[in-house]
Subunit: 221 residues, 8 copies
């Protein structure tokens, strides 16, 4: 793929790293001279040191042939203008960071795939970790359902039980599904007879989201 | 809970918003005067305008009574020192942003729950969206397994089939689990007879991660 | 009219001056604190000191009730985003400065009336003045036609002649129309018998634009 | 011509572009090092990186042989001093930007052709567009008369009428002259029988300036 | 007198000090806010904190009634424009600092009394002191003549001699006039019989300027 | 002479110009890199780009062999320290700018020849010019006496008179000496019969300083 | 005592803390406004916010009555000028920081007690700690002698021996004196029979300075 | 030894100077580009221009093979993080500057040898010099004991006495030990019969610290 990436800041440089690892043809536009030079020296890509909010620059970057255009700047107006230029030149995949969730519909009207502000996401993660420190990673699904990972503590109520027994002892709320168990680095899709052991990392789906009742089952009481 | 939040930047302010919404007792430490004043005016919390990398300041913030300490600065050395002070004063929950993944073990040795750099995460999301534009949200589980959300397009091969039929037609790779289906805003845990319709948002677990074979089943061919 | 003006710089402040003189209800958004304060002190308008590239701020400025939205910033991406917000909220008249002529179509697609960069215009005027110093003001019409003003010098070939005589002496190229003559502060629409005198200010339409032949007719030879 | 242009900012660079396109011999004086270097790299001209408000520098630029001197800085005192030096060395054509209209007479006393501040002009255009959005370009003539361009809307009262009929129906105020009509890219000087069609771009002279009555005749009612 | 002083820097503040000591009515214009405030607090004068290169500001300062206008800024273009405004409003006495001696004629043409750059003068004094360390103060007159002050050292050849004897001993070159002698704080105009003593401060006029022959006569050999 | 000059600012560069013109061996110490480079390119001298308030740097500049040390910085403490180093290494002639007259004795104790602040001097000159605009240059001598230059205006009371007649008509106060007369570029020491003509430039010594009575004698009444 | 302290930076503020704790009358002069305000708010002293390198300011601070004058700035020229002023006004005790050891004699000539640059000292301490990590604090005496502190390690050769036995076993070089032993927080002046135990902190004088032989005697081998 | 030194500021550069003089293999990490370049040009060491608070950079500096790691920055959090990295890679000697004494235990827990802030130390020295100007250098030992140096003044009570006589006359308090006497550049360890002469520099240990009684014995009364 021919990918144009706008911005080589902390977010942009991660995108550049991933895209160049996969051997895509990558063109980067970065306004800051020092960042532009560092990017050019570090990754296998072409770097244009200019302000991308300009049709001239986007043409120089080859927008007419680009398969994807990823805008990572911290200014929604710049991301928006770049997406408009991308649409004008029929770039197939338009992706953009969005900094203020209220601007979502402006991007949506253009058919741009947006990714929420890293700072919003990060704030949620940090706070969730304080609320339920045992949960490692999580994903929200519509209607309040959640999928999350837990590590089973030594001496937790559920440790050593099969899923059926855990269920019959009422350790798990209804409409809870144990999706996967990672033990000693190996992942298994559990059945009813599968047991849960201390130190397992368990991926759980809960229709009503994480609650104390669930996390308590996996912690040493 | 008595929560000390260090940093009121873009990430920190999201944490402050969430923590004050839940009526926790919140003390914020922010070095930048303007940010400190804005935080004080916007949220129901106490704000100390100072550099948190100082035992004096942390004592002034009440570290001796804090239940949780969340460090959100963009400097790993500052986050680390704050976590050390938190440990010294036996704060129960220590959470910190981490900016360079290589520093993970320094925090791990202190027993700090860390949350990866927002910029790293964001970069992955942006790039993933280019690779598989139909996937909305996703979570990586150990050993290459992934859980992700897709919306079923009108005319996709899988649209209108039951899970059993989709399986027998070989539309889904082995060790794939349809964890949940959201239809008209309602979430269901599907059984074998459950069918998949266009416009459903489907949560899928795949042992070997997302592949073209899967996403193709859900897109109009 | 309820008019929102974005930017109170050198261009914006002229717009504010004109709009408040006509007793419109004016709301100004200006990012720079000092400029915002000066504007508030000088003109009869409400001033919001913030970055306008934000839906929040535009709502605070009353975009939902605005009749006109004038964007005067030196950043085309900001002007563009403001215009998009204006369109989203059905503001009847959208006007914007444009800084790079290449971005014209982006604004055109949104139905925004644009005004070319002041610096472009000014550059043309300065250079034109060097080319034909006797011409005071001019306007370009499609296909190379121009309308311009000249002051008739004492002793110029055309001074003292009627339009008919000037024509028969071949002083003016074909398809030239003398649109108006200002003499002693009074404007007249000339007929064939009208004469041209020294010190008259004459407005001339020429199908092929100003040329030496025309300006020579009005200068002392 | 040998032209010295002072200032290579946004206005100055337009002048430089025009003057070098016409193959004049151009010397540019620009104080800012970066701008000076860019100008030197972009245009075919000599660039001196210095403050022009110095006789030494003006001599170095060849003021003794210059045919024209164009001063485009944003400081009236610098423009004035440069014009004085130009007069001292008998430069034939002196042109200068003027930033504050009150300083007009200082320049006038020196015999300098001045061009009003771009920001003033631009502000007037933007505001005029809000007042009469159908007008595209306009020029003010003494005593309140104006010349302006309009595009005839589909279904406008005047569409399809000859000038004589439009007049007899009272669609146009007295002392209004249709100077030119551009149709399908071709410009014509209309006579009484000429008709006006939708999509024509019409140049109109009105002794008392644009009014609703006129613009209404050209808009869809 | 009603005096307007432009600039309250190091030079300007000395002028302000002298003018207010003599109870003139003084208006000061100073661009720098801090300097303007200090001036207002220190001297009995009105201070306008603005850029003086503007007719508006000069009118606010009362240029129409001023008897004198003293421009002390370090920019010759600003000094020049202020002097032009002073001339336009018929200020009787126009005085200005000049920074580059080459600009002298621009000021001269306006009838402005100029005072050479303090830095030029100072440089001459410092260097002269190295050349002839015994000379305290000096003034150059046309054609190479100089007037200067010396203090007679103990044991100098001239000490104890009358002027006539000094002459007959050839201690002084021809066309040298001892203009004044200050002894014990009292000044005398010497005659031929007057004698010169050690520690006298002597003011000398020499047609061909100071030379070693003269200074040697006054130093201990 | 081997001369070290500290500071290449506006004052210092004049000293450097004078000293290099006389072919002295000159070493310049200047802290500002850009100034240092310009000095090195413009004058025939060695330039050290460093802060001179350091024994190391002064040794590098050759203080041990210097005949004269001229300190021109705008900081009295730096000038003082440099003079102390000069004294320590027995430099024969020490000269320094002084910025605050109160610090005179600190320099005096070290045996340094000081030159008053250029800004003080300049302020006096500017103000004097307002008081007596006809006086061109002047020098103050102890006890209120002054020497100054005047140009005789056409029609002045003294024009055409011999010195004796001027005296007998009481045009000049007592104890006034006409020291020199410059006519047509030639300087003469006048006697009693010498006459004064319009346009002569006259150097006058007055025991009680310049007064209106004197300047009136030389102006057109 | 009446003490004037110049500079309220990191060094100066420590001096101010100590001097105000002892209830001296303290006047502080600090150039930086923010530092001056903080000092005034924190300590019981008068603070003047000005540049101290000025006789005016020093008089305002009361130099005529001061008993001591402590100069702590990072500029030797400023420290020097302040000391000169202190000497001029007969301040009894003059103390100054010195930043460049080469300037020591300039201060010495004035009779100022100087304290070496904190950075020099600190650098020596850090490096010494790398050379002999067991040494805690040390002081250099003339001719290479040193006094230093060591803590006796468990299992060190000297642990458990009396001084006499340590000597006879040749553990200590000649001309070594054990000046003091601190054990359990109590200090004793040892005699020959006194013994040395693990964990004692021992103060040792060695005529030829610390060597491996000595430090080895106190470390676990 | 292989030594990594973090920071090349005023403290760090002293450490670098000492370490390179002893021919150690030195790697310096300095964030500021200009300082890094100067260090590289001045000392025989490798310099990395980067922020040291990063595992990557420390690995690049060779932390895995380093014998000593000296952290000299003015930020305790950076010093702390560097020390943690040093501990992780088993660097044998870890030394760090400490800026706030309250952070001592954080470093102590890591087994880092710390050196107190240079500014704290310097402040104590300056103030001590005011209290007892005759004391030259001093060292504090636990429990209030001190060792210090004095120079014996001409005419001091103790001058000319033997230690025994001084003692019997009660000139020295109990538990005072004269540790060393430097006379004419030679150091001696005194016995009871040794005498003290004017100009001797005497090193004294006093159990209760310096007091007026002691310093008076050594000063001219």
């Amino acid at each position: 793929m021919y990918i144009i990436i706008v911005g080589a800041g902390r977010t942009g440089s991660k995108v550049i790293e991933l895209a160049t690892q996969d051997d895509h043809e990558v063109v980067v536009i970065e306004r800051d001279q020092k960042l532009a030079e560092e990017t050019s020296a570090t990754y296998d890509c072409m770097v244009i040191n200019a302000d991308a909010a300009s049709k001239d620059i986007m043409l120089e970057a080859g927008i007419q042939e680009a398969d994807a255009l990823i805008s990572t700047t911290e200014s929604d107006s710049v991301n928006l203008m770049i997406s408009m230029l991308g649409k004008q030149y029929d770039v197939e995949t338009l992706v953009s960071s969005i900094n203020d969730p209220q601007h979502m519909d402006l991007f949506g009207d253009l058919g741009v795939n947006i990714v929420e502000s890293p700072h919003e996401l990060n704030g949620q993660y940090l706070y969730r970790t304080v609320q339920r420190p045992t949960i490692r990673d999580f994903m929200e699904i519509g209607s309040g359902a959640e999928i999350f990972e837990l590590t089973v503590e030594e001496g937790a109520p559920i440790a050593g039980l099969s899923l059926i027994d855990a269920d019959s002892e009422g350790l798990l709320p209804e409409e809870t599904v144990i999706v996967a168990i990672v033990r000693d680095g190996e992942l298994n899709i559990p059945r009813g007879q599968s047991d849960i052991q201390a130190d397992d990392t368990v991926t759980i789906f809960v229709k009503n989201g994480a609650s104390d009742r669930i996390t308590d089952a996996f912690r040493e009481s």
